[in-house]
Symmetry: C2
Subunit: 468 residues, 2 copies
């Protein structure tokens, strides 16, 4: 994986070289260091008959891979005057497709480093989908075992082998990026901007090439393109593969996708009417503003076309709650995710039925199949732990001197891999650079924690994990 | 129950009469109206052979009782110029032992109305303990079935019948109030203040007779008395009964009490060291300030001896999280409660063990007995729904124009029956009177929701509840 990262670093090096910018040196040097480290690991650890990996190794490997890859992928930023803390934060933010940035003055940066930020989102986004489909279901974290059944079940077997599945995901991901880039360019972006932003759109990353994010473009066509492709990036990629392989209505029949799209439309309409009631704008302007920014937060992308924290207290409250929602499972979106909310709703309903008539037997099904026995507890425990972590880290940030709103929204936006927080410092018009170094490391940790569905990382903190 | 309330109203009427204050008329009129309504209900609905109540009637009766009692108990406030909205809010705040107030200028109020506020806390507090021990375990809400085993199990049967148990609880409650009042008076409170504040202390209510709450007294001895008796009020009353009946070490052996006391001491010490580090005060001053205010929030009382929101961002963050903790089950304390946090911690641990080695069988025990099968899900679902309700109502309040901090902390403090929120308006030095009427009704609803452990009320909103 380190060698792949090293190879990816050559792309921005070439761009900087073509632009006659000295930045190529940082990329080349980082690439050599990373390639060397990766090569050394292969030489030291290569085994012709590798031992079968157990579930413990699965947890450890996943977490360590993220920590180490980010450590190397951060190197190119050092060439642009960032401290290693800032570089690591920016890299983890990209790889986890969070999109919080510590770099101000993006508009004046050389193109190489902008491309690197976009590539981090792309690489991370693709990695997340592969991980969510191939790895997490077998680690049984937070209800992901639900999707183990789906891909291992014979009647619905998507592709027989992991390698083929990975290729198919990469093809769908690449295809979406190209189509999105085409539309962005068609509607007026430069070719370079179109490619960078389409990468961060499909990865629901949210890094933009401008300090003012998408507000820079001032084009409804670009906003609607963004809205649609952010939503597509937050949908289950397995379903896209099914569609390509001959089931064009798969998207429409997926319970999770239907709830997700319905939710997006409902909240976008509510916020549009709120804007109509509080501002002197047309319905089209209102729904364009509302759908872009709502979709950006729900899909955990983190672009903004307007500082929505200036839309009034109601909007601030809604956007804070949206930070928790997230897109579909098996996509690039983070946070709690729609299927967990659906299952939580279903469980609440059946729990109330049970309270009313204790002897009734309720069979729970999701997406047309019975819920595995350990899913209910996994899902609800995920929710409770998710909220608890947001609260605990908020107190840690408050202890570092951040005000209540900044501390709480930083904690929620990092764990949800969303991007912007609330308040003057880290709000949609702000920047994470004024935060203390310790907060940046804690936020990097939270981004990884959220990205790996909490349990994958938390399990490493149990003493039992390290016993025999 | 209405007739009991009507009788209780005569007490403040007598006090006002003795003080030569015209307030007695409002109490007498309210008492007559309430007694008439209660008497009418008895006449209309009395049945010599009452039908056995099922679980559905249990839910409905519990909720309706709280709504209706508050509606009548609010009447005396109308005589003091409060709107009915404010009167209902103040009454629900008292009966649920929340302690949020909409009355400013307490120091100048006639004693009758101050006594009525304290009596509301006392009546509500006693009612809650009886309900939590006799009613909720059988409704199986939010893991309360855990305590059904406890009181129905033969080896540990506390008292054979509900009536005797109620009397025993009332005796313990009354005893604690008297001892507390004695110490308050001993350390310098007037007799009237001592009785009012001991009622709101043991009930963990938090209504004070002064706008500046306990900061008015400026006496370390009174603060430590308050700290100790608030903590006692938040302990399981069944255990006190056991102690009186010949098992003096019962308190020490109770898992919940040990965790509760340990938690109080730990957080009080942390905040004391924080105060020492940020202010020029002695350790005794620091621990006095810290333990009183921490205990006040954790026990969901809501007194303050100093505006802790001026202690810095770390303190604000900690106090916000403390709003969620709560005391022990079977006490007057609200919020999530210690046993749910203990069980959640135990479940998290066993869930991680299960992730590491899927075939291991873990037996879960609490307080020396096996956990009933439906407790884990009940507890974790309670936590998730609790957080979700705090978030949803925060958005509702934001929609009414409240700023983010006020909206979020109002939602959390009402659902947890704590009392003060954060921010300039509803913070410990503030008052709920500037909030819009709609917010006051929603907060009253949230107080009841929290007090009845969520499910008791929420189940009424399921259409299935009303079928057949």
């Amino acid at each position: 994986m380190l060698c792949t990262i090293a190879a990816a670093m050559l792309l921005p090096a070439l761009v900087d070289l073509a632009d006659n910018d000295r930045g190529w040196q940082a990329f080349l040097a980082s690439s050599v260091v990373t390639f060397f480290a990766g090569g050394l690991l292969v030489l030291v650890a290569y085994d012709e008959n590798p031992p079968r990996l157990g579930v413990k190794e699965g947890f450890l490997l996943t977490t360590v891979a993220w920590v180490v890859i980010a450590a190397f992928a951060a190197l190119p930023f050092l060439g642009h005057g960032l401290s290693y803390t800032d570089a690591y934060f920016e890299t983890m933010s990209g790889l986890t497709t969070t999109g919080s940035t510590v770099i101000a003055g993006l508009d004046k940066l050389p193109r190489g480093i902008l491309l690197w930020r976009a590539l981090l989102c792309g690489i991370g986004g693709l990695g997340i989908i592969v991980m969510a489909i191939l790895m997490l279901p077998f680690l049984r974290v937070g209800g992901m075992q639900l999707f183990q059944t789906e891909s291992s079940d014979k009647s619905e077997k998507v592709l027989p082998r992991a390698f083929e599945l990975t290729l198919a995901i990469a093809a769908v991901f690449g295809g979406l990026v190209l189509v999105c880039a085409f539309f962005y360019a068609w509607f007026g972006m430069s070719g370079f901007d179109a490619i960078c932003h389409s990468l961060t759109t499909i990865a629901t990353g949210g890094f933009a090439n401008y300090d003012s994010s998408f507000a820079h473009f001032e084009s409804p066509a670009i906003y609607w393109t963004g809205t649609i492709f952010m939503a597509l990036g937050a949908m289950p990629f397995v379903v896209f593969i099914k569609m390509v392989r001959g089931d064009p209505t798969a998207l429409w029949h997926d319970t999770q996708v239907r709830a997700f799209v319905g939710f997006l439309i409902a909240i976008s309409l509510i916020m549009a009417f709120w804007l109509l009631a509080t501002r002197n704008i047309s319905f089209f302007e209102a729904i364009t503003l509302s759908s872009f920014n709502v979709t950006s937060i729900v899909t955990t992308t983190g672009y903004m076309s307007d500082d929505y924290t200036k839309w009034g207290n109601f909007a601030i409250g809604v956007f804070f709650l949206l930070t928790f929602v997230g897109g579909c499972s098996g996509s690039t979106a983070g946070a709690i995710k729609i299927y967990r909310l659906q299952i939580a709703h279903m469980l609440t309903r059946s729990h109330f039925l049970h309270l009313i008539s204790p002897n009734r037997v309720v069979t729970l099904t999701y997406n047309g199949r019975r819920l595995p026995a350990d899913v209910p507890f996994s899902v609800v425990a995920f929710l409770a732990i998710y909220f608890a972590i947001v609260g605990l880290f908020a107190v840690i940030y408050a202890g570092m001197g951040l005000d209540f709103v900044t501390a709480l929204s930083a904690s929620a936006t990092a764990l949800g891999n969303v991007g912007p927080g609330l308040g003057d410092v880290i709000g949609p018009a702000g920047n994470f650079v004024p935060l203390p170094d310790a907060a940046k490391w804690a936020l990097s940790f939270q981004m990884m924690l959220g990205r790996l569905e909490l349990f994958t990382v938390l399990v490493l903190f149990r003493p039992e994990f390290w016993r025999s």
